[in-house]
Symmetry: C2
Subunit: 360 residues, 2 copies
Amino acid sequence: MAGVARWWCSSVGARGAPSPAMEAGSWLPATSPWATRLVAAARTDCHDGRRCGKPATIPAAPPWMRGEKGRRAALRRFLQLLRVCSRWASYQVLTAFGVSKVLESGHSGYKAGDLVWGIIGCEEYTLVTNPESLFKISHPEFPLSYYTGVLGMPGLTAYAGFFDVAKPKKGEYVFVSAASGAVGQLVGQLAKITGCYVVGSAGSDEKVNLLKTKFGFDDAFNYKKEKDLNAALKRCFPDGIDIYFENVGGAMLDAVLLNMRLHGRVSMCGLISQYNLEQPEGVRNLFCIVTKRIRVEGFMVTEYFGTYSKFEEEMAGYLKKGKITYVEDVAEGIENVPAALIGIFYGRNIGKQLVAVARE
Amino acid sequence: MAGVARWWCSSVGARGAPSPAMEAGSWLPATSPWATRLVAAARTDCHDGRRCGKPATIPAAPPWMRGEKGRRAALRRFLQLLRVCSRWASYQVLTAFGVSKVLESGHSGYKAGDLVWGIIGCEEYTLVTNPESLFKISHPEFPLSYYTGVLGMPGLTAYAGFFDVAKPKKGEYVFVSAASGAVGQLVGQLAKITGCYVVGSAGSDEKVNLLKTKFGFDDAFNYKKEKDLNAALKRCFPDGIDIYFENVGGAMLDAVLLNMRLHGRVSMCGLISQYNLEQPEGVRNLFCIVTKRIRVEGFMVTEYFGTYSKFEEEMAGYLKKGKITYVEDVAEGIENVPAALIGIFYGRNIGKQLVAVARE
């Protein structure tokens, strides 16, 4: 649920009082001497401070909190939830990607009414001491929630990881794991725009259907129903894989390596199947990297923030022309945050999970 | 013992008779319609056909025959030896990198007396049907054995894997595993020429000493004496590793990943610790590739054969200026091939293992 939307930020700490972390000024690092008070917030009239404050801290649960099936995984999920709750209970302000409106600004680059997205505290009012870390929203004609997804961090992740890291060529074979997620669905569509053959994997038949009917993937499979991932990939890619957009790791990566083509590229975005394990699974087929001259490269979207404006314009163009479709799973109202959060651990969300705290 | 020298090739099959494989023309593929008879051989007077023929097939044992310590490893080595012997017993001609002299040629590019290196059959006389796969020797002023090493395939491997794959910059921190081997010793010296800080690992104190005193490594350690590879790397690289020239895989790769710096590169040349295992070890720390934006890239020297001339001139220059030192472990006489071969499995060789079948 990282990158969950906060429209808009909720109360200043629990019970409407400033949180200790906020008072200490430590909840968002000051990265520049010219950082000044920039208050991002909106619509304070829709909830009282207490009701808004508590749930809005929960969506910051990072992706490595997502688990697998089974008892131990369920226990881990529960423990992770406890950790989040304890963090909240200790008045530490959690952070997340969200969309906000500027109320006051002492920084010349921002004025009241500006719409911004970026990492800010899960609060109704947020004091931003490093405003240079935020991005202005140039296309308010789109749903603002898009700036937590297709036009925000996940969109730039897909764009940079596919184009800059994987360096695709027309006609290549592309495989995307966790393909119905916020990033995966975009990678698949960018690959189709590039003229590639694209297959995705997901964890339910409903998601697989979405990949094939809504996002235009050439093929897709439900990895939970496949007894042999290697065989599934051979079925979908009889001629092998040129590009693997890696979101999951573990057994899937091992199977993919066996099916890569010469000079294949693995754009390593995340290894979500491994985050909840006490010890990561070992990947055994690494010798394929030598024999097939594969390039495996990791990346972090933060290094591409400097290219955001170019990306925003290109992606906005794709959206306007209908070349990119984006699916969100929006939980309405702060009272639904717990259910939305728990649902993610079970893969119940279809598309990017958001919580609309308030709508303008 | 791959890439072992054959100075010069020995008898045409066992017992002086042409081998069945040779008669079938299958022991070296004809890759071009203009392939003609090119006979490479020399000094047939030093051994009788039978004595030369048998041992000269053994050195083609590939590097993945090298094992680890312990009983199971010893058993695997024995089984591997059996496989080699059975291949030899079946009259299949083994191939290896070696140096030869052209005796007759129907190809306009070669004439009698030319010195060549490349993959040819382990025979006294070799019928070459794809002469375009051989390289002419431009610097016979060096020991000809250098063309099985520093001026041949291992040299080009080190050069391409370090400069083209790892793309080093002056001042970077470089780690080389299997550092006293034919490739590793050259990578370390090329790194020093580039102005890098270089540490190598090897399997004996004698080899470690060689790395520090002969090849100019800044530091080195005996991996067999280290209880904790992660701690050893932290000791040698308190600021982390920029480039890992990977020759071994397994536990070493896992430890290296923990110690890589941001935007580090792993030039994956081989995973020799894994070749003899029934199932490769799993590498668990792959998430470091994401968080540290590491590039892991495999390569095969064959793809760089087109750049050989440029490499040969540059390496010859380094040798003449004394900037590169090269150490070989030469077994004299075909009767010492078995001992040399077995010694490799136990890491007894210091530097590139060769067998001098004949000297001119």
